[in-house]
């Protein structure tokens, strides 16, 4: 091996980028080449000096800033009105535009989700017990919505509330999935027959609409679409189990 060749190999050798046979050839050449041996010594010394520099971990403040950006992809990162605007735009494009809507005001559904996720006052009746939540609706709305705790499916019931959708009082159930909320609005359907859940995704939100057992169901959440589909399945299964 001539000197230019072994000189060119010094860095790769120090950096562990030579193959075993190349390393052997280099080490052999090194014995006869004092200049390259010196280069090697220098590269190693510098490597040592750089590696003993103390690593500085990311400051807590930076970590907190990033956490804040991550957690509320769905919520606080945008101002509520901006979020509402984007969601309204999203749903008006493709979500509730079909015949299943029955004229329901999509803005109202979005507003319901925002009220639940952004206010301290998320539910009017806070309970995971359906025997508390279901009777609470009696006398407040003119139908009895199906209320089930879905803890076994991974969606514990947080409680219920009433919201006005298209000028009419509607039952709203709030479920939890880890730190996410799923907001389910339910009202009696004017059509018969079931319609399977249609899950769409807009602006980081999963939206689901379906018809089951005589009810129109609309769910809004920041869950992954697959989780939203599981949620709809869990609701249907619980409703069917009771009939």
């Amino acid at each position: 091996m001539d000197c230019p060749t072994c000189e060119a190999m010094v860095d790769a050798y120090v950096d562990g980028e030579l193959s075993a046979s190349e390393s052997v050839a280099f080490e052999r050449a090194l014995d006869t080449c004092p200049d390259c041996a010196k280069r090697l010594e220098t590269a190693r010394a510098m490597s040592r000096l750089l590696r003993e520099l103390p690593a500085e971990p990311a400051p807590d403040l930076l970590r907190a800033r990033i956490e804040r950006e991550l957690r509320p992809v769905a919520e606080a990162r945008w101002r509520p009105w901006a979020l509402a605007a984007s969601l309204i735009a999203a749903v008006s494009v493709g979500w509730l535009g079909g015949t299943l809507t029955g004229g329901r005001n999509t803005d109202d559904l979005v507003a319901t989700y925002l009220r639940v996720t952004m206010s301290e006052h998320a539910v009017d009746v806070a309970s995971s017990d359906r025997h508390t939540v279901k009777p609470w609706f009696a006398g407040r709305i003119d139908y009895a919505p199906p209320v089930h705790d879905l803890t076994a499916s991974g969606f514990p019931l947080n409680g219920g509330r009433i919201d006005i959708v298209d000028g009419r009082k509607v039952a709203v159930l709030v479920y939890q999935r880890n730190q996410h909320k799923v907001v389910l609005s339910i009202w009696p359907s004017a059509s018969s027959g079931n319609a399977p859940a249609l899950v769409t995704q807009r602006d980081g939100f999963a939206l689901a609409r379906w018809r089951h057992a005589g009810f129109e169901l609309r769910a809004v959440s920041d869950l992954a679409p697959s989780d939203m589909a599981s949620f709809a399945t869990a609701v249907d299964r619980a409703v069917d189990a009771e009939r």
Partner: protein, 183 residues
């Protein structure tokens, strides 16, 4: 940037697992690029948000080189926006020794300060490649992907960067202290 889809909750979870653990690396690299701890936080934060935004385009492999490439692009974009590269060597020159090891002599603390100052004094091209190789411990292949260079160029740049650093160090440290042979 605006055409990237907004991440859904599932994406955020995957991002947390794959990318967030490398925040220390992202910040450390940003610190050496920016040479200013406050500016480095801005660079690292912006890079993390970009990474999240483009996470859907991340096709597995190693997340750390991928993230470091974004940190570098972010830094370049930010300096292009703010005019010339901002110099704040003082931030590093004046930093007190923060070794937690009581056995580390003042001499070792001094040496580290000098080494940090020498590295910080290098031009960006030499600085970034040394940090990626020696501090982030990336392979040539990963350095090539971060810097978007062929491997041959990585090797020649690295050799030049080491020469420059050696010269800087010889100017700052006494011969006995750094263990560097004269060339």
């Amino acid at each position: 940037m605006s055409d990237a889809p907004k991440p859904d909750a599932g994406t955020v979870e995957r991002f947390r697992l794959a990318v967030l653990p490398h925040l220390d690396s992202a910040y450390g690299f940003a610190r050496w690029l920016a040479r200013d701890p406050v500016l480095a936080q801005d660079v690292a934060q912006e890079a993390m948000l970009r990474a999240l935004r483009y996470f859907h385009a991340f096709r597995g492999g190693e997340a750390r080189p991928w993230l470091l490439g974004i940190v570098r692009n972010t830094w370049i974009d930010m300096t292009a926006r703010n005019g010339a590269e901002r110099l704040s060597l003082d931030a590093i020159e004046d930093r007190p020794s923060d070794s937690p090891d009581p056995e580390q002599s003042a001499l070792a603390g001094d040496r580290r300060r000098h080494v940090a100052a020498a590295l910080a004094a290098l031009p960006l091209e030499a600085r970034e490649i040394l940090v990626l190789r020696e501090i982030e411990d990336l392979s040539y292949k990963h350095i090539a992907s971060v810097l978007d260079l062929p491997i041959g160029t990585v090797m020649s740049r690295l050799a030049r960067a080491r020469e420059r650093l050696a010269a800087e160090l010889r100017g700052r440290l006494g011969r006995r202290d750094h263990g560097l042979p004269d060339l």
